[in-house]
Symmetry: D2
């Protein structure tokens, strides 16, 4: 009998699922027992993923309904929204769930319906779901049965905004988030706009005023401010594979200064293994965190008086997705939080 955590990955044919497998391969306490992808069932991971070419012994892809759940301790859901909740709601209570879809992030099923265009398939699971922004959710993770991992954009935005919002250092209005992201965030779907030549040597915003990560950010910020907050969020797609950078404009609360923001982050993140306030003046860049679970962060003065510019960078597939998911799993199973996530960023 294995003493490792036996995991299944649903949606192993997408970038998020694949990055989870990449990390699981070397995680000392994880054992991959099932990899599911309905469309590619029957194929070897080494055949559909170039970087698993040297790993021909990985389990073959199966259909989700072919998984022997008796062998599984924890499942990672990397399925599209709705499909995820539908499937996960059928699992035995014993199996712990780390879901990377949007299905269990929003507490309010009406908001969910409004933004995702479907009725929530498993509202009864919502109540016990923990919003897995690890650094904020730690105390609730040990006993959680279902953890909903935040979206990549909310991860960086909330780790930046929540501490200073909770400390009363910023105002609850005119929060303006400008985000840059690598293309892996768009998924492996076959769309013309994701072809190499459409994106190389090019940059453009997308989902202007309508990105689905907005309600999630508003939910958590509203909780922090104790009142409903509407934010501005504009993501831009860049010609790079990984990486996410957010440039956030905030209004300082009366009498508060940049120094107060720095002090707040210093206190809050001093002991965090993955969150790093940079030295004064050093600008966060995606190249600082590529392929790692780190986030870098800094604070700058805005030329418009009374405002500040907060900048944070993460790897959208790691801290923004599979890395944070494993960080959550580590805490759910009483393992050291950094286990399997120690790799330093890959540069160049």
């Amino acid at each position: 009998m294995s003493s490792k955590i036996r995991i299944a990955v649903l949606g192993a044919s997408g970038y998020t699922g694949a990055d989870l497998v990449r990390l699981a391969i070397t995680h000392p306490a994880m054992e991959i027992v099932a990899l599911a992808a309905n469309q590619k069932a029957g194929q070897a991971m080494a055949d559909i993923w170039p970087h698993f070419a040297p790993y021909r012994s990985l389990p073959r892809l199966v259909r989700a309904d072919a998984i022997d759940w008796g062998q599984v301790d924890a499942v990672f859901g990397c399925l599209p929204h709705a499909a995820s909740a539908e499937l996960l709601s059928t699992l035995d209570e014993r199996i712990r769930i780390i879901d990377l879809s949007a299905d269990f992030r929003l507490n309010d099923t009406e908001t969910y319906g409004e933004w995702y265009g479907v009725t929530h398939p498993a509202p009864h699971l919502l109540e016990s779901a923990v919003y897995g922004l690890t650094e904020m959710a730690r105390p609730r993770l040990a006993d959680a049965r279902l953890v909903a991992c935040p979206g990549c954009f909310p991860t960086a935005a909330l780790l930046t905004l929540l501490p200073v919002a909770e400390a009363g250092l910023i105002r609850d209005r005119n929060i303006t988030i400008n985000a840059l992201t690598g293309v892996s965030g768009a998924g492996r779907g076959l769309k013309e706009q994701n072809l190499f030549v459409e994106i190389s040597e090019a940059a453009a915003p997308y989902a202007v005023g309508a990105h689905r990560h907005m309600p999630e950010m508003e939910q958590e910020l509203s909780r922090a401010f104790g009142k409903p907050v509407a934010i501005s969020f504009t993501p831009h797609l860049l010609p790079m594979n990984r990486g996410e950078l957010e440039t956030i404009i905030v209004e300082l609360a009366d009498g508060k200064t940049l120094a107060d923001l720095r002090a707040c982050y210093e206190a809050r993140y001093a002991e965090e293994p993955f969150i790093h306030l940079l030295p004064e003046g050093q600008v966060p860049a995606t190249r600082m965190v590529r392929g790692s679970n780190h986030m870098v962060l800094n604070v700058f003065a805005d030329r418009v008086p009374g405002r500040a510019i907060l900048i944070a960078a993460i790897d959208n597939l790691v801290k923004g997705s599979s890395g944070q998911a494993i960080q959550n799993m580590n805490l759910m199973f009483g393992l050291p939080e950094t286990m399997g996530l120690e790799a330093a960023p890959l540069f160049p």
Copy 2:
């Protein structure tokens, strides 16, 4: 005697200068008589620029002081600030000047000194200098002796903001400009941060809160609003060669709507050959204008009530630099405004 405009380019070893030469080669009314670059004097353009390899008959690079100015009708200044004004101030009145440096953009020498750290070398030329944002400066260009071409960021920002500011559709506060730019904007200087591997697969802001294009934007916006305006401007460097995109958040004036903004642009730019308001909902992208003198523009609702998102894209080296310079020259010399600038964007 030639009936063409005999031009000299100062600073032909930089990206801006080289792009000007690229366009001049096929411009029917331009004749290149001198190319200057002190550091590379004596070399052939074909030796220092890969894309001029097929053009071995271009004039060799000379030192600026070796130019026979008697042969020159117009000079394009692509030198660093201060050096530019110093040299240009020595030229015969007969020679018309299109300057692409920052030296003649700011009316106020104190502001100039504050941002550029030097005393202005030729304040007497400032008064007659025309700020060459072509679409706004047309009436003054025909007789101008010295035209100061705007910076690349101000070009896109001001063509977007000025019409709606002048029409009273937006408020004069909290104008927040988020910009993306290709690396050619950083110049051909040998700096570690401009090496391929530092930039590829990476994105980062730079000059946060301190970019030198800010006073220029503030000057023109203050003029439009009739009162001093401070803006927020954060540029980001992306892994691409050319292209610039600005995402601008504005507050709508009381009672004004998105439809008012659209109507304003439609009226203002309907007949412009290079400025294009996109159909409702279509997002501007740098790939729409690569290698061309076009600008594309659109208007979107912001989720924060009472605000709008304006997005514009240009090629930083063409409309943002050498293309606009030639557009100005065309008007200064009574030529058709689009002459030599007709090339459609290069995609992919």
Copy 3:
């Protein structure tokens, strides 16, 4: 009645077709009267192509069978093989054809069937078809009704190899062509391997030992050598949009030297507007020709005695495709050969 050449483009939704339209827009003697693409019929070019966003007055896409052929003087075929010949064979004799598909490149229908897996749909047109490698085909182009434009790889390879083969300077064996190409050559089809993240930061050969441009090169080389020749050809896909570079190893004929090769190219290409032998030692690079109809070429010693390394670079979409097609059209219609193709390369 128009004095311009009224053209139709079949397959205007592909990269080749789009690049042809890009060049046609500014060609002084071309008038675009019909753009066909069955799958996207009804849409505006500005809607399916980002770079035509500023060109909303281009004709809408139609189905090929909806073209009013009475209005058309010349047709550019940018369709897949077989589909091309099938359609083109139905046109009135009056309409001159510039075909960019593979259908009329191979004289031998058996070879065609073997490599393309179909029976040739219009063998009766083969005899009169001219293989449109412009610099080699000039005398036959003026009267040609149907010109078959070479593939992009054969264009660079044959312009490099034919002069020295015909001059008896190289041997007819062990010709080894290693090619690099940008991704636009792979077309706009929705395939996983063409997605941005699969190609960015990556390089790989493809179609190893089996690329369909091989029989075409062998046909022309066999003609030059006067005997059947088998070549080695390995293309590699790189993370760039445009550009093609071939590194060709040849064995020198007895007593022949590198100097003989140079002298041969100098004599052959001295007056060519688009083919440029570089100065001794300068290495051809795709950045020298990007977006232009130029080819650069040079000759190097190989460390294996008795061999030489020939290197050539073109833009696969221009000289390798749409540019050469227009160059052919110019000659077919008695226009200056360089008309509409004068643009200097775009760098950076």
Copy 4:
């Protein structure tokens, strides 16, 4: 007292040195005690390397002559040639050396002088130096005091060619190696040709017929064939950070077949943790190995009869440099060979 191997890195300001530090950070048996870089002495690694921003506790850079060698068990030399041998020759015999420069790769000081243009600074160390192509050198590594790690190109070429050369499956003539490499191989030196915009959207060969990795390949191949061999080698620089791919044309020995080559590799590499023969027909690609110590390899028929195409891909900075260096260190110190090198490739 530490039971870890206390290491020093000379040349920690270059890409190779930095990648070594990246791997050492998580290697369970390595302790970084000194990082030297004369030009940047006094600075923190976190200040000169973006990806070490989260690692502010790394030792500061010092001058090489400031290292307390008494604290050092093993030194990694990442210095330029000549400088490397000069410094390493002064170290105490106790300190084991893993050199990544070219200084101890060539047995023959005359060949060294010819290709590197200097007299060898420490010929007395040559005799005992082991050429550290790990998979071939294993038996000699345990006792080696000085291991000379192969260049990146020779690593992939020799791991591909040596087994089939030693088995008599290929001929000793006309070996033609065509190589592609990412830009990190060119180093962090400030040269115009390494700027982002010069390389992005571009490809070109370099050092044609004259690359310094040639004598190294010839030395080892001559040993395998038992007679002097001259090879053809042409490297090409691509717009990517990491990755190296070699397409090698060989002549088969009389009566030998592709199947013989496959069988040879299968036998030779079946148990190797890092060398992977791909399934028949699957084309090696750099994306299969990015950021890892793996090499992938395959065999294809050439259209020229009697020849074969061998293709191999590695990450030039890992298996081609720092990874192989650590693999060698592991064997020198009796550690498991794969320790610290287990990370799966990073894709996308």
